[in-house]
């Protein structure tokens, strides 16, 4: 198995799972001959034909609503948005339909759609090609929300999503698509709902996911130079959260920094912070810090100020360590 970047790992996983499971069908704009905007579906049309790779049924809302009908019928549709920012026309189908089909039918029907959303900034995309919409989806019972942070996890978590029974909002950090190549074992699977401690430390817990995980790891290196040992937890799945791993980490450190790209207010960090306050109060030695995007629309020219940078994360680690 060759070393793969994240886009290649996703492509290879889709291909392998489509071979394994006839019911998987891909939907999305330009996913056919073009191979997807980021190349994640390259070659799949040639490999599986138009019966399995359906190019753009009528816009984003159409691709998502169509996927719901296909999933009810018994297929496993994988809908790709070109950018997570384009998902809103299909929001009603996700929140009111996909997420509730099982519930409102008393478990008689299910809707195992995998919604692949290239998300986040760092590519100069401006406010309509850079958003991190996870909070909107994490507020919806019935959805699984996941965000891998490297090629290995992207393959393993996508495989789990494609074999799962629930609808999955799969957030792919597009700034990492073409990142470093790593060895990805065929058939590798990462169960959804399991976080991963990426670096062990006893002073400060840093909780990150998707695009902010590499930033957290770099900041951890810098903090170590300053003598602060961080426990870096890659949450991987946001809904449902791996509460056990989160609480073990905070029990060890008593100090928390949460790193996310989306705006602060009511963002994922708010839920995590509330959870820590409710369940780990007696462990806490310092206020919980959130390093996130600001409460502004995603900016264009000021993108680098907006995104949680290594410098901002290091500063937060130092503040909570020295509180």
């Amino acid at each position: 198995m060759p070393d793969l970047n994240m886009a290649q790992a996703i492509n290879r996983t889709l291909s392998a799972e489509m071979q394994r499971d006839e019911s998987i069908v891909l939907l999305g704009e330009d996913i056919g001959a073009l191979g997807g905007l980021f190349g994640t579906t390259e070659g799949l049309l040639e490999q599986f034909g138009e019966g399995r790779v359906v190019d753009a049924p009528t816009g984003e809302g159409g691709a998502i609503g169509t996927a719901v009908g296909m999933a009810l019928y018994g297929l496993r549709p994988v809908t790709e948005m070109q950018f997570a920012d384009f998902v809103w026309p299909g929001f009603e189908h996700i929140v009111s339909e996909m997420a509730r089909v099982r519930y409102r039918s008393g478990g008689q029907y299910s809707c195992p759609v995998v919604l692949r959303l290239p998300y986040g900034g760092g590519v100069g995309g401006g406010m309509y090609q850079s958003q991190s919409p996870e909070a909107y989806f994490c507020h919806t019972p019935g959805l699984v929300v996941a965000a891998p942070s490297d090629a290995t996890d992207a393959a393993g978590m996508l495989r789990a999503a494609l074999r799962g029974e629930d609808p999955v909002v799969f957030l792919e950090p597009k700034c990492l698509y073409q990142g470093s190549r790593v060895r990805v074992e065929d058939g590798h699977i990462v169960p959804l709902g399991k976080a991963r401690v990426r670096r062990q430390g006893t002073d400060v817990s840093v909780f990150a996911y998707g695009s902010t995980l590499p930033v957290a790891l770099e900041a951890a290196d810098d903090a170590a130079v300053a003598g602060i040992q961080t426990d870096v937890v890659d949450l991987r799945t946001l809904l449902p959260l791996d509460i056990g791993t989160v609480l073990s980490s905070i029990a060890k450190t008593g100090r928390a920094v949460i790193v996310a790209e989306s705006p602060t207010y009511c963002g994922y960090g708010a839920e995590l912070s509330a959870t820590l306050s409710e369940r780990a109060l007696l462990h806490l030695e310092a206020p919980i810090e959130r390093v996130t995007g600001f409460d502004v629309p995603f900016p264009y020219v000021h993108e680098d100020y907006y995104l949680p940078s290594k410098r901002r994360v290091v500063a937060a680690i130092e503040r909570v360590a020295n509180f």
Binding site: V54, P57, V68, G69, S96, E97, G106, I243
Partner: protein
């Protein structure tokens, strides 16, 4: 209503010429479905007036659209209903008893009392659980039909909705998706007048306008549209016109003179069938009311395939509260 497909004429001899190959059994079944729908409607209206249910969307004079269209579809076909499609629910094999478990949110309701009265689910009849938002089911129907096409499944999909759904984006997106793939789906819209043909055509779908209080017209139009869909000729939209208010004719009353003329129905059968339905409905209501609601803990089921830790914890909390206070009603 000259441009509407109509089977039931003022003169029964004209009707006779129009009915073609319809069998006695088809005719009486269609008629009976109208009577049952009316009796259920009346009972549910009373349940609502007396505060025993909180919501009811009556079929009223549009009953023929739901039952007539559904009857034109075969086992193995899929139906995407609206919340005004009790007729279709019964035609697809749903029983009166089952219907009232849903209407009264009894513990026997398949969907565990999670939906407003009339938002039924009938997996055995491939009658997909009714969704509240307008028009979303139009897109889902197109999706299911596209899936059938991709899988060489020689069945069809029926989507039912009211005219308000046609103002939603999902209406046009559903139509154009189905048209683009020549997916086997028939859209049936209850309309107060003729208005949809231009927009339907613009989305690549064939429009047909029928008299929506004439159940034979609805049935025959739906049957032709289904045949065309299965044959690969693409989707049709049937605009079933049901005039508002007093202009509308009660669909059972419209059909009955022809059935009597044909000798398959009479006052005796009317009386007997009506009485049996009333009795069955009364018994179904009594049964559903005596069964009581599903246990509160079922609220936490079917959100995800399995309960994640949050729901396990919330379920425990609710149960502890119930144990401590012994309360059976939460307020």
């Amino acid at each position: 209503m000259g441009e509407l497909l109509t089977i039931l004429a003022d003169d029964v001899e004209d009707t006779e010429r129009n009915v073609g190959d319809l069998l006695d059994a088809d005719l009486t079944a269609l008629y009976e479905s109208l009577v049952v729908t009316r009796i259920v409607d009346e009972r549910c209206a009373r349940l609502q007036q007396s505060g025993r249910i909180g919501f009811w969307a009556p079929s009223g004079t549009s009953a023929a659209v739901s039952a007539g269209a559904a009857r034109a579809f075969e086992d193995g076909d899929w139906l995407y209903p609206s919340y005004r499609d009790i007729g279709a629910f019964l035609v697809r094999g749903g029983s009166i008893e089952q219907l009232f478990t849903q209407v009264l949110s009894s513990r026997d309701d398949l969907a565990r009392g999670r939906q407003l009265p009339g938002h039924a689910t009938l997996p055995a009849g491939r009658f997909v659980s009714v969704s509240g938002p307008l028009a979303t089911q139009i897109q889902h129907a197109a999706g299911t039909a596209l899936a059938m096409k991709l899988r060489n499944d020689a069945h069809a999909v029926l989507a039912l909705f009211g005219v308000a759904a046609t103002d939603q984006a999902a209406f046009q997106i559903g139509l154009s998706t189905a048209a683009r793939h020549a997916a086997p789906v028939v859209f049936v819209c209850r309309c107060p007048g003729v208005s949809l043909a231009p927009i339907v055509k613009a989305n690549g779908v064939a429009p047909v306008s029928v008299d929506g209080t004439d159940i034979l017209a609805v049935y025959m139009a739906a049957r032709s549209a289904r045949e065309a869909a299965v044959a690969g000729a693409g989707p049709t939209l049937i605009e079933a016109v049901v005039p508002k208010g007093t202009e509308a004719l009660e669909p059972a009353a419209r059909l009955r003179p022809y059935l009597e003329h044909r000798g398959v129905w009479d006052a005796g059968r009317e009386e007997e069938f009506g009485r049996r339905c009333e009795e069955r409905v009364a018994a179904a209501v009594a049964l559903a009311e005596s069964a009581g609601p599903p246990p509160a803990d079922t609220m936490f089921d079917d959100v995800w395939a399995t309960r994640p830790w949050m729901l396990q914890e919330q379920s425990r909390k609710l149960r502890r509260l119930q144990d401590r206070t012994g309360y059976s009603t939460p307020r």
